[in-house]
Symmetry: C2
Subunit: 137 residues, 2 copies
DNA sequence: ATTAATTCTATAAAATTAGTAGAGTTTAAA
DNA sequence: TTTAAACTCTACTAATTTTATAGAATTAAT
């Protein structure tokens, strides 16, 4: 399941994707349009900025705008940024790999093989969902 | 990601699937073989029993055994039993459906459509992974 | 200088997860 | 019928994560 943070991030990105390219959106404007607690959204937008998905303009008349093309922001990206690994266990993850402490010999683990298959399939599906594809409904 | 409970459940089921059909396995035996805290495993086996995946024999010389065929226990089943919905948000779930409180009109939600697609694809993948397929490596 | 915005750090309440404790019940066998 | 060995059940606890909130600092336009 997605965390609220990831869900809010996606909703904020969808909002930004629907604005004119030149428009910068204030946090409060996004928060009200997408029903997201404003102070929580502040953090989320900063995370998105650090992930180089959005840019910001500071000071009066400042706000946020999409930095990457809406075609290049995928569900997999946002999942990884806010909720971490796509894989079902760390030992089956590419970007968040970690050994299981309860596993004597990883190469012998019956579970891992199946979970790698799952990761490959869900990753492909999640990379197919972009902000652009969501906006197009 | 899978919870430890779900991971332990899968490891326990894999252990049971590798025993002879007539054999009943004691909790302590499974715990030691699969490196699972015994008292934690007790709870997990009871959950698996209530889900009709395993059966038990009480009293001295009692223990657990597979109730369902290893071909009929899927990763999706175990995910649902221990970790709930397969879908990324409750509003996109079949078995754990819930409305989002921050969503004014669900039929208008741009996110939901994409998440239903993802759910369909990952569900298909997860239903393809059975205890039998994992044992066969 | 003032206003309106982002940025940053700290804090807090609630929920979830992971695991432990201990008493109760059931069954086989001596 | 007693004992041993197993499952069953309920409650509890500690740690972690999640979901925020608060407030001061910084930036930029007018």
């Amino acid at each position: 399941m997605l965390s609220h943070k990831a869900k809010y991030a996606l909703k904020a990105l969808l909002y930004l994707a629907q604005q004119e390219e030149t428009h910068v959106s204030r946090t409060i404007e996004i928060a009200e349009a997408a029903t997201i607690p404003k102070k929580f959204l502040e953090q989320i937008l900063l995370d998105l900025k650090r992930g180089h998905f959005v840019g910001s303009k500071q000071g009066k008349f400042g706000g946020y705008y999409l930095l990457k093309s809406k075609n290049d922001i995928t569900l997999a990206d946002i999942h990884r940024l806010f909720d971490g690994a796509i894989a079902l266990l760390p030992c089956a993850s590419l970007n968040f790999y970690e050994r299981c402490s309860d596993c004597a010999d990883e190469s012998e683990c019956l579970l891992r093989h199946g979970l790698i298959t799952i990761r490959e399939e869900t990753l492909k599906a999640m990379e197919g969902i972009t902000i652009a594809s969501l906006v197009k409904k």
